[in-house]
């Protein structure tokens, strides 16, 4: 199949996926969601005022026309304005996005590197004491709730009942010192809660690859463990590793940041989404859902391209 045709197919599928996601969420939130007319007007509104606000909000239009109008605005990059403070949603999210990236990036990288290290250790000593220790630890890790990890680390690191090293919550970052002060505990939480999953994933990948003939040959020729693990195993596991890394990006940015930022009061995308949930801010929530879906579409395309580069055999199919 030619590259152009694959690309075109990807584009069409991505557009269809976006249409499906937005239609579903638009239906749930706008069609069945609460009517905001009364909230905006307060008590004692006249029938004329009600009518006027309904027209301004587009509530007098049939559902499909409203959806089409929203899609048209989306196509022009207009995500509407927030119901709570009237700010353009693009500005709101543009401000929040860098904060979220700064918050989750170190934890994402560290969590994967640590998982890779532990996974390699366990896989190399498969069936041995190290393997059992790592696997046992990862089962315990899988059984930890994100929320519990956050509160526990907060008690241990941010309160007088523990070491009291960091501020309990907030995000007043202007230099490296303050960044470390506010980002350390969220980062450690993210690392700890993802470590169990990461370790198991990397262990499975490495075990799979270690069992292959080329590894046995390399070992027979006297290759050192580090050569085998890094230049033979890791290089050959690039496809599953890249796929997983890429696919977890939208999840970490949205789902991961939701709890972290809500808990620590950090003004990123997750906090924006949470505030929109609690205040019933439909335009903001719709924008977050839409942009998440866009990320998934982009990630799928990038993962596809990366895998083709990493494994030329895939181009044939």
């Amino acid at each position: 199949m030619s590259l152009a045709r694959t690309l075109a197919q990807r584009l069409v599928y991505g557009a269809l996926l976006l249409l499906g996601v937005t239609l579903l969420c638009f239906t749930l939130m706008v069609q069945f969601g609460p009517d905001k007319t009364y909230e905006l007007l307060g008590k004692n509104a006249s029938a004329e005022q009600l009518e006027e606000v309904r027209r301004a909000l587009g509530h007098d239009q049939p559902f499909l026309r409203r959806y089409a109008r929203w899609l048209g605005e989306l196509a022009q990059g207009d995500l509407g304005t927030s119901d709570t403070n009237g700010e353009p949603v693009t500005a709101l999210l543009g401000r929040a996005f860098p904060v979220t990236v700064m918050l989750v990036l170190p934890g994402f990288i560290l969590g994967n590197l640590l998982g890779l290290g532990l996974g390699m250790l366990a896989a190399w000593h498969r069936g041995g004491a190290w393997d059992r220790l790592v696997l046992g630890g990862s089962v315990a890790g899988l059984s930890l709730s994100f929320l519990v990890v956050i509160i526990l680390l907060q008690i241990l690191l941010c309160t007088p009942y523990g070491l009291n090293l960091f501020p309990t919550r907030g995000w007043r970052v202007d230099d490296l010192g303050s960044y470390l002060a506010y980002a350390t505990v969220p980062t450690l939480s993210l690392v700890l809660v993802t470590l169990g999953y990461n370790t198991r994933f990397y262990r499975a990948v490495v075990v799979d690859e270690l069992g292959r003939d080329h590894v046995r040959t390399a070992l027979a020729f006297g290759a050192t463990p580090s050569t085998v693990l890094f230049s033979h195993v890791l290089k050959n596991s690039l496809v599953p590793v890249l796929t997983r890394l890429l696919y977890s990006i939208p999840l970490v940015l949205v789902s991961g940041s939701l709890l972290l930022e809500t808990y620590f009061g950090i003004p990123g995308v997750g906090k924006v989404a949470f505030d929109a949930i609690t205040s019933g801010d439909q335009p903001v929530l719709l924008a977050v859902v839409t942009l998440t879906a866009v990320m998934f579409v982009v990630v799928q395309a990038v993962a596809d391209a990366c895998c083709r580069l990493a494994d030329p055999r895939m181009q044939a199919s």
Partner: protein, 279 residues
Amino acid sequence: MNARALQALWGTAAGRTGLGLLLLLGMLALAAASGWLPLDGFRTTNLQWASASAEHWFGTNRLGQDILARAVGGAATAFRVGILVTLGAIALGAALGAVAGWRQGGWLDEALQYVMGVIDSIPIYLLAAALAFALGGGESAMILAMTGSFWVATARLVRAEVARLRAREFVLSAQAIGLPAPLIVVRHLLPNTVHILLVQATLTFVAAIKTEVILSFLGIGLADGVSWGLMLAESTQDVLAGHFGNFLAASGFLFLMLLGLNLVADTLQDAFDLQGAPA
């Protein structure tokens, strides 16, 4: 239930521990719910934030309610939500996955895969929030959101397995003697996916409990009643004032329940030589 699964669960230390933990918590929750144990998590007393004692093992909370009773009540909630979500998601995943696998490559398969792609692109917390909007919140919106999201992982695995088995001789023979397709799928193909369904059920259970806790904490899950998520939400204020009862009880019970489920999931995965897909 599958004989191999039972054998594995009884035959390994991890399986026995997991099963034991779940049985213990289940019986505790049942006993408290039916009033056999003197544990009433709703009765308020004058004793605010009492520390641990023989009468209140984990102390009392802000309203003077016994924290142990609330933690046990939370177990009942976790089982209720977990079982409902798991049953719904596994049934839906098995049915739609089997249909897609049987019609692999056809328009029905394409349509179902598209729907799965759409659902996979919406993070569970946002879907739960959207459903809470539409249904006015509460436990049913939360259960619906989780079921509507978690079936996809199971459906993908069942689809692949059914598509693989479809070309096997026993299926071809069944077709040759004129068995209708639905009968073949239900009687000959789905029973061959039981190992997948068992593993997925435990993993879905884990995901449901974890998600319930976080949704309840965020205020888009359980609104009233007892839940470990609500206890943890309360504890975020408590711990800053040095009251650890809520946190210790809720996180301890939550950990034991998830550990039990994960040990069972692990044992089953090993027994069937299978890698599950977390919901």
